[in-house]
């Protein structure tokens, strides 16, 4: 079977597993809800566009038709209203956030391990997580009101304001990209970016940013607790708006990575040979690094630093589906989604909620050790 065929098969199976994990997770919590009710509630929440309505609207001299989509719900199962509210309003956004973040981190981790030809590479290797942490922590310690009033021609004044949570995410996202770009710029000379230099620059920048984070924590005072919670990784408080933003950002970036999956395979032979096989090496490296940094930043911006997903999930899947990135990348991403949903379910299932980062590390590391000891692991 062709590689893309195998890829589709594994993806379908792992997507089904992800759906099952999501449903199971939504059923678990202080209020037990039967899985069938979960499915019905989710289906009830599905809306499809049913038509377009336009209403003429005059803005100054211009007639701007205001376009509204009419939606309709195709399903109307009888479901307990409280259950429906718990599933759709409370649990589902958090669960989907976990799925998206796990997906993004595992995809980025897979690409980084291949890119660096180093089994210890993970999404944070080029400073993305440290940069996000500095951005988030800085905003928590020195919050600024993020509001602005834009005066646009025609439309008039528009008030823009970000909630505190959105501010943290925005700063984390920007911090992640600044750090990643900094590492890239440090490692690049004469248009070439040697992978080994990139790795070392990443270590150096991460160390430096770690010092910045420690200093900020000393200055934190009251907000130290929130900083620690953010640094450990968390998914509580995810709202539908957060999910929507992440769901818009992650899939296109994943698409870019997938398009370059075959090039990444060839890059594993070494840059010189990849060049000989027709790969535009430096350009491919820039695209892979850029997309992996962005997708990681999108993941950590909302959820904080969640370790181990991007390190362990690609390893596990490589043992199962092999090293071909056309198969490995979608498989690892989907499995990463399932893994983080499951880990977050454990995190919130107990009497006191744990940061999900603790769960991923506590569950993931022993499982990884088990894999190392029971399976023959080649020079991964």
């Amino acid at each position: 079977m062709s590689a893309w065929g195998r890829s589709a098969g594994w993806s379908a199976a792992l997507a089904a597993a992800l759906v099952a994990v999501v449903v199971a997770s939504a059923a678990i919590g202080p209020v037990r809800i039967p899985p069938i009710e979960v499915v019905k509630a989710v289906l009830n929440a599905v809306v499809v566009p049913a038509g377009v309505e336009t209403t003429p609207q005059w803005v100054g001299p211009l007639m701007l038709p205001s376009v509204d989509l009419a939606y309709r719900s195709p399903f109307a199962f009888p479901v307990n209203g409280v259950h429906e509210q718990i599933v759709v309003g409370v649990r589902l956004p958090r669960i989907l956030m976990a799925a998206l973040v796990g997906f993004a981190l595992a995809a980025a981790g897979t690409v980084m391990q291949g890119f660096f030809r180093n089994p210890m590479a993970d999404p944070s290797i080029i400073g993305v997580s440290s940069g996000a942490a500095v951005g988030a922590v800085a905003f928590i310690v020195f919050p600024v009101a993020l509001s602005a009033t834009l005066t646009l021609p025609v439309v008039g004044a528009v008030d823009l304001a970000l909630s505190h949570g959105a501010g943290v995410s925005l700063f984390a996202f920007v911090g992640a990209l600044v750090a990643a770009f900094g590492v890239y710029a440090i490692a690049t000379r004469h248009g070439r970016t040697p992978v080994a230099t990139l790795l070392l620059a990443g270590v150096a920048v991460q160390t430096f940013l770690g010092a910045v984070i420690s200093y900020l924590q000393l200055q934190a005072g009251e907000s130290l607790r929130r900083i620690v919670a953010w640094l450990m990784g968390h998914l509580s408080g995810a709202a539908w708006s957060d999910v929507a933003v992440t769901a818009v950002v992650v899939p296109p970036l994943f698409g870019v990575l997938l398009v370059y999956a075959r090039d990444l395979n060839v890059m594993l032979l070494g840059e010189e040979e990849a060049r000989g096989l027709g790969i535009a090496v430096e350009r491919t490296k820039r695209i892979l690094l850029g997309a992996a940094a962005l997708i990681t930043a999108a993941g950590v911006a909302f959820a904080g630093v969640i370790g181990f997903v991007g390190l362990i999930v690609p390893h596990m899947l490589r043992l199962v589906v092999g090293p071909d990135h056309r198969v490995l990348l979608p498989s690892a991403a989907l499995a990463g989604g399932s893994f983080l949903v499951a880990a977050d379910t454990i995190a919130r299932a107990g009497s006191t909620e744990l940061p999900v980062g603790i769960v991923t590390a506590a569950v993931g590391a022993p499982f990884f050790i088990y894999l190392l000891m029971t399976r023959e692991v080649h020079e991964l």
Binding site: R262, L268, G278, H378, L380
Partner: protein, 485 residues
């Protein structure tokens, strides 16, 4: 340096049995990759001239340096269709650097590389990947891809971003795996195969690329003798089918046997280029490698065979002692070795009288040394004896191998030959007698030392005492010069 390569057709070569029955003809892809699916947008492909006189690989005035250290400069090189060019030279001469410049993985400081007539710099990596494929010395594969997957990667330059493998790709991969004899372990992980198998996988990958040109960097370095021959026979067949190949080769005998042309790279530049017979000479090799070599003819293949000797300190042409005119008397392999070693040390050697067809006579021919021969098992004609005597008289030293010239003592000599050689020895200024024991061989240091008249241990004292005075002076200098730098 850009001499047209005289193409030696495959039939003239010693090819032995076809090492891969059934795969030979159908596995060697057609002349060029014109039949390969051209999915690319590059219009440059149309500039490829399949039958014309544009050489697939042309390097002109190439200079490369790493930082301030120049590696090669002014290299000119040309590989024609149907020609296998061997790149030889000492370690660090820049063979791999030249190959990398052709591949485009390093950019030259000066000069130009043209692939099928187009400057390599103007080609996209993809287009370059469809014109030239390379087999690297080794590879470090960190992830356990299957062998088949590695070979399939050779198709990369032929595939568009979203293309799957079509029938052409499948065929190319299958043929490449058969040709390189890796099909047997196609489903094993690359991390689980041996070094030699891995090297053949890389060859298969390059073949799957179906390019008109091949670059090989030490293609046989880690192969067993069987697969080394199979690999080169395969390359030879591909070349005979019209491809161009450039191979960096350490083994001079291998280069001589398979290449149409040899380019000697040393001290940062091309030292010699041309057919193996013309290039592989003791002088060229001494210049390039700084080694004393004897170039003979391989009796099994008829191609030149190079034997290198360790330079004894203070001896040889670049020591203070200089070249001597030496006459050798003796027969068989011991005498042959003496002739080879002395001529490698740049002494002017002559031989005789030896029976026709004797090993020593054969080596003398290879060494371009005058040899006086006589019909075997017959009386030595007087004119031959006089000829040999004349050669011995003009020589500074005569080396007598074994008990030659002593009637009834030298086993290999007839009475007539002993008598003739005794006359030759009698005419010599100075005689050095070397043990002719075939089992013990010839002690090189002893031989060279003795020829220079100094420290040799096996002098029999038969020498002419008139030369003794010089010899002592010369012997004192023996250890001074160090020519190994």
């Amino acid at each position: 340096m850009t001499a047209e390569s005289p193409t030696v057709s495959g039939s003239e070569r010693f090819t032995g049995d076809d090492p891969a029955p059934g795969t030979a003809d159908d596995s060697a892809p057609d002349t060029a990759d014109d039949s390969a699916p051209d999915t690319a947008d590059d219009s440059a492909a149309s500039a490829v001239d399949p039958a014309g006189d544009t050489p697939p690989i042309e390097v002109s005035d190439l200079s490369v340096s790493f930082g301030d250290v120049p590696v090669v400069s002014g290299v000119d090189l040309r590989v024609e269709r149907g020609s296998l060019v061997g790149l030889v030279g000492p370690n660090g001469a820049g063979k791999t650097t030249v190959l990398r410049a052709i591949k485009g993985t390093l950019s030259p400081d000066a000069g130009e590389v043209r692939l099928d007539g187009d400057p390599a710099e103007s080609l996209s990596p993809r287009e370059a990947g469809r014109r030239v494929a390379s087999v690297p010395q080794g590879t470090n594969l960190a992830f356990d891809f299957r062998v088949r997957q590695i070979v399939e990667m050779g198709r990369t330059p032929h595939l568009g971003r979203f293309d799957g493998h079509g029938p052409d790709d499948e065929r190319a991969v299958r043929e490449a795996m058969d040709a390189a004899d890796v099909a047997r372990f196609a489903d094993r992980a690359i991390t689980e195969v041996s070094g030699g198998e891995r090297q053949r996988v890389l060859l298969a990958r390059a073949l799957a690329q179906e390019t008109p040109s091949l670059l090989l960097d030490e293609p046989t370095a880690s192969l067993d003798v069987n697969h080394a021959v199979r690999t080169l026979e395969l390359v030879r067949r591909l070349v005979d089918d019209g491809r161009a190949a450039l191979a960096a080769i350490h083994d001079l005998d291998v280069a001589a046997r398979y290449c149409d042309e040899i380019v000697v790279l040393a001290n940062g530049g091309v030292r010699a280029a041309g057919p193996p017979e013309a290039v592989l000479t003791a002088e060229t090799l001494r210049d390039a490698f700084g080694a004393e070599t004897f170039v003979g003819e391989n009796p099994a293949t008829g191609s030149p065979t190079v034997t290198a000797f360790d330079e004894a300190d203070g001896e040889g042409p670049r020591g203070s002692l200089g070249s001597r005119r030496v006459h050798v008397v003796g027969t068989g392999r011991p005498a042959a070795r003496v002739v080879a070693r002395l001529s490698a040390a740049d002494h002017a050697v002559s031989v005789g009288v030896v029976p026709e067809g004797d090993a020593a006579a054969g080596v003398a021919v290879d060494a371009d040394a005058p040899a006086v021969t006589a019909p075997p098992f017959a009386a030595v004609p007087p004119e031959r004896r006089d000829e040999a005597t004349a050669l011995a008289r003009e020589a500074e030293v005569t080396v007598a191998v074994g008990k030659t010239g002593e009637t009834g003592e030298a086993e290999a000599e007839s009475a007539s030959e002993s008598e003739a050689n005794a006359a030759v020895l009698a005419a010599s200024d100075r005689i050095v007698r070397i043990s002719g024991d075939a089992d013990r061989g010839v002690d090189e240091d002893e031989l060279l030392g003795a020829v220079h008249g100094g420290s040799g241990g096996d002098l029999t004292g038969e020498g002419d005492l008139a030369g003794e005075g010089d010899q002592v002076g010369e012997a004192g200098d023996i250890d001074l010069p160090d020519r190994r730098d």
